[in-house]
Amino acid sequence: MEVFSESYLEDVVENQGKLFEYAEEHCPGIDVTDFIEAYMKSHTRALIDAGQAYISTMDAEDLFNYFLKNDKYEPRQGTAAGGFAPNWIGQFYALFQWIYKMSSKEVVKLLPVEFMFEAYPGLHDLDLQVAVYKVGEQCGLNAS
């Protein structure tokens, strides 16, 4: 799969982390696991995978509103995750998608959100790229 230009990468990674964090802060009691999974499988995220500049450069709040409107997502009630995990997972997923040239839909299928929350304590202290490579290696993937 062709990935978007590297010149967008830093912003996409940062904004996805902020998006997941924003969802939890903006909707107290939201099932953030459901939100993250729905977002990663969404048409909105697929547009970013495809390098659509308008979506790729949105900040977290705009992206949140765009996703809710265009994918008709309704936040569900659940247990709050709290802490920095949602932000870190957002960044991890974004970088993983780009490095391994997979669709975001495939990424969340390969690395379910529940797994990411379990893996967070052991991985989040690492440099993000190192963490991505570690997990990718475990999955038998090669970064080209």
Binding site: S5, S7, Y8, D11, G51, Q52, A53, Y54, T57, M58
Partner: protein, 119 residues
């Protein structure tokens, strides 16, 4: 933290103006602004960076008086096809962003004269 001090020191009063002209503030602009306030950009390359951002100029109509001076040119209105224009928008943004990214990562960006030194 530094931004309020920067604004306090360098802001230009817009009181008394009806129209403000400046760089188009889209995502490319904010990319540059973000790199700048993070001390990732040497001020010497900032003008070139802004030009590479292909930002163009935008006008802000600030007052009722400014709006009253507008005249609508109905004949100049054009309907445009999203599927035709969106790829052009995406391509233009990508080219501009790659050029900025290349400049920021080049040796021309000495990162000596940076934002935090302006405060």
């Amino acid at each position: 933290m530094l931004a309020p001090k920067f604004i306090q020191k360098y802001q230009v009063s817009t009181d008394g103006y009806d129209v403000i002209k400046g760089w188009r503030a889209n995502a490319s602009y904010f990319y540059i602004a973000k790199c700048n306030v993070r001390d990732e950009v040497d001020l010497d390359i900032l003008p070139e960076l802004l030009k590479l951002g292909d930002l163009g100029i935008q006008y802000c109509l600030k007052t009722e008086k400014a709006f009253q001076c507008l005249r609508e040119e109905v004949s100049a209105l054009q309907e445009i096809e999203y599927n035709s224009v969106n790829p052009q928008y995406t391509e233009r943004d990508r080219v501009a962003r790659e050029a900025m990214y290349a400049l920021i990562n080049s040796d021309k960006n000495k990162i000596e004269n940076v934002f935090s030194k302006l405060i």
